[in-house]
Symmetry: C3
């Protein structure tokens, strides 16, 4: 499986990275250390000393720099070795890779591809935790599975009727009807009405129409809004997008930003936030949503990790797509294309 390298990957929550505290993770199998320098600069370096390959994440921040705490080599934010203790000359080749890194929407984004191509305009427009218009909770979990299996899952919501029958209380309509699927430059858009059904998880009485749209963007960013409307709204709109201000208040419009980051070939980290618009909900609604999300995303994880174990035990595993896979196929085709575009991306070694 190919992954797109010319893309911004979420490395963590901005608030979790304190000053002068090196933090280690892998992205696409690359060992990376993140730190905030004395001046507040955000730095992402290859987490592997040039000397004897000790991890720099066990190192010590000194001003703008990071010192390897094995034999004391000192690294500049651009990856160059600034000092080798007891040695006058520092060889020119003494440097580790430095990754473009940006703090935006309360996430830390790392560019894994060609540095010259690092364009901040390619960062998907997630809603940050500190956005004043929303009341958001957040969470994360690690998967013992390939990131692409999680992306597949997020591009086909027919699983809601089965995986999340208990948590979200999703009806079989999610599996039996199909969303509108629209290709984007670096993603896929999904839109759908769920018409005249009981509200999820008992919020409110009687039936309602639910409008849901989301963009699933390379390299695995989901941006989704759901809104509950009075029954009949879908038909009145001709099954097209409704006006946002007609949503039922008290349940209203919610937004979730999610990110799937491949750590290694067989592990991934999943970040998510969710909550209501500030003018249509409150902290209690947010907490109820997050309780559902934690349960539901654990259901996803158990299913996908089990799927991974079967795949790994199967020689030449092959899938058989269904009509529900339109979005999955579209997204994976896009990944395949972007991963192979010469000068644009590098296929993962895995």
């Amino acid at each position: 499986m190919a992954y797109v390298r010319d893309a911004w990957y979420v490395a963590g929550w901005s608030r979790d990275l304190g000053p002068a505290q090196p933090f280690a993770l892998s992205i696409l199998g690359d060992p990376i250390v993140l730190y905030r320098s004395e001046s507040g600069r955000l730095v992402a370096l290859e987490d592997r000393c040039v000397h004897r390959l000790a991890p720099l994440s066990l190192g010590r921040c000194e001003g703008e720099r990071l010192r390897c705490m094995y034999h004391g080599l000192l690294f500049d934010p651009d990856g160059r070795v600034a000092e080798i203790p007891g040695q006058d000359l520092v060889p020119a080749q003494a440097r580790v890779r430095s990754y473009p890194v940006v703090d935006r929407h309360d996430w830390i984004w790392v560019w894994m591809g060609d540095v010259a191509a690092a364009d901040e305009a390619l960062i998907p427009s997630a809603v940050g935790l500190s956005d004043p218009d929303w009341i958001l909770g957040h969470g994360q979990m690690d998967y013992a599975a390939e990131a692409r299996l999680i992306c597949d899952n997020l591009c086909d919501f027919s699983h809601l009727s089965f995986v999340h029958a208990n948590s979200f209380g999703a009806s079989e309509t999610w599996a039996r009807s199909r969303p509108r699927v629209v290709p984007l430059d670096r993603g896929v858009r999904f839109e759908r009405w769920i018409v005249g059904e009981p509200r999820m998880s008992g919020r409110g009485e009687g039936n309602a129409d639910v409008w849901q749209w989301y963009d699933f963007m390379v390299p695995g960013i989901l941006l989704m809004s759901s809104a509950v409307y009075p029954e009949g709204t879908a038909a009145a709109c001709g099954m097209n997008a409704p006006a946002p201000d007609r949503a039922l208040t008290g349940e209203g419009v919610t937004f979730t930003s999610q990110a799937v980051t491949p750590l290694t070939d067989r592990t991934a980290r999943y970040f998510y936030s969710w909550g209501p618009r500030r003018d249509q909900g409150d902290a209690a609604l947010r907490d109820m949503l997050m309780g559902m999300a934690d349960q539901a995303f654990t259901e996803d994880r158990l299913m996908i990790e089990a799927q991974q174990r079967v795949i790994d035990a199967t020689p030449n595993p092959r899938i058989m797509p269904t009509s529900a896979d339109k979005g999955v196929t579209l997204y994976n085709g896009l990944v395949h294309k972007l991963a192979r575009t010469p000068g644009m991306a590098i296929e993962s070694a895995a």
Copy 2:
């Protein structure tokens, strides 16, 4: 190592498989899900959805069928996909493998080979837990070792003198004398007298003669009877089989059925029952026997798992058979032959 595919493997105790509760295990590395349908039919399917390879064992029984709980594909007992939610057409190739499966002697038996060759007459005649003539206890344990090492162990009881010196209190006679070994069509028969020795584990006073016979049948089924006789019986019988009704009551005749099932290349499950004839023993004797068995079979497991670790750490491991290995060699030759008979069996991929 070859395994025989045209054989019935024990997948579990019949009583442990409740209605509408899918149960997962591997046999010979094949992922299998077992379930009992609404009508009570026993079904064994490949545990791997055709769609995206999720395990069907996380699924839901619906009448006679099993539904994958990832995206809802519904499977008939013969492995065919009966429904894909939201899709009218089901492709003809949409099916998983279905295995012949039989409930007999209180075990569930799965046929791993050519379906056309599945002959229930090949199921070895184990004694079931519910057999009214016997008072049986039962147990099972999982091995981190190849099934064939357990089979080797069960075809050479010279290990009793050493591995089970403490549990069964077996004398060195078990290692220093040899049983009569007789080839069968699908197994090997072992018969022997242990003459004039103290009774095992202090049952009764004074010496006795013990008559023991067992059949070890493909693919790893042991059916064994032991009986304690007054000293001198062996000689009086000319070292041949004694009359069953001369056995000492109170210790009498016991029977054990055992099954070794290869889960994967390096794991196995071991099932066993043991106890006295109803007219010659009681529940207390059964419990004493089972206490010994649990201890002794743990001794076997520790030795065999240690043996496996040595084998795995040895490049080109080679054994040096002894004269005690006659039964082992005979059984493994039979396995080798049955595993390679064209149209009869398929060699394990492992």
Copy 3:
């Protein structure tokens, strides 16, 4: 990486091997069982029965011999099978490898190479725990890392300034100055003065000069003495070796013997003792030193195991030596040479 096979490896503390208690370990990946016979003879055999490869370390000592407790084969101290229960003839090829083994300096040393070349004069002159001139504590720890990474660490004390900044309180002088490095026949000698610095870990007031020398000997034996002298001693000696009797009493001269034993390709065992001369220190000083050592060696282990994980995750890992690596390079060159000398050594399979 090559390891030297024609060398004595430390297998354990002599006092830890009781009579008639087989003890298992791997050295260079070879499974080995050690035991003391009834007459007190120390024996080292291949830990793998010729019959079915069960580990002899699960066996039973009988006089001078060791019996496999799977099927009862009995082994002589030279590795020959002395008995196969129930079989008259023992084949000539029925034998396991026997290793030269010596009890010296309170360590058990095993020769891993050509038996004809086993020369006890090649055992490095460690100071034993029972040596009356020293008051020694001791310890050991297992590494999830290659032995050679630990040897690299012990041949470059520039790491003291960083890895052990907290435990030994070592100044940056350790990293910024270089020891005198002298090649030996089967090792490398390191000598240095640390001039006019506060005493390590607050022993005593004011500054002092510290003289440190150590030999690092094949296959991974460190023999080191440190002594604290009045400030100015180094200059007065022209930076050469001081007279031992001028050392400050109460801190005085300490000695540490250390051994790195490769268990497998990716695991190692590290043995160490440390303490003052009996006429210059006491048990309290020994205990203080051992407290520091336990903390410091744990710091080493955490760094080196992390380094190993990075190496293992790196395709074609390459190091970039610094001027602090002179001793490392010298020692590894010696290992490389001794490992490849025909008739002298065998390269590790790993």
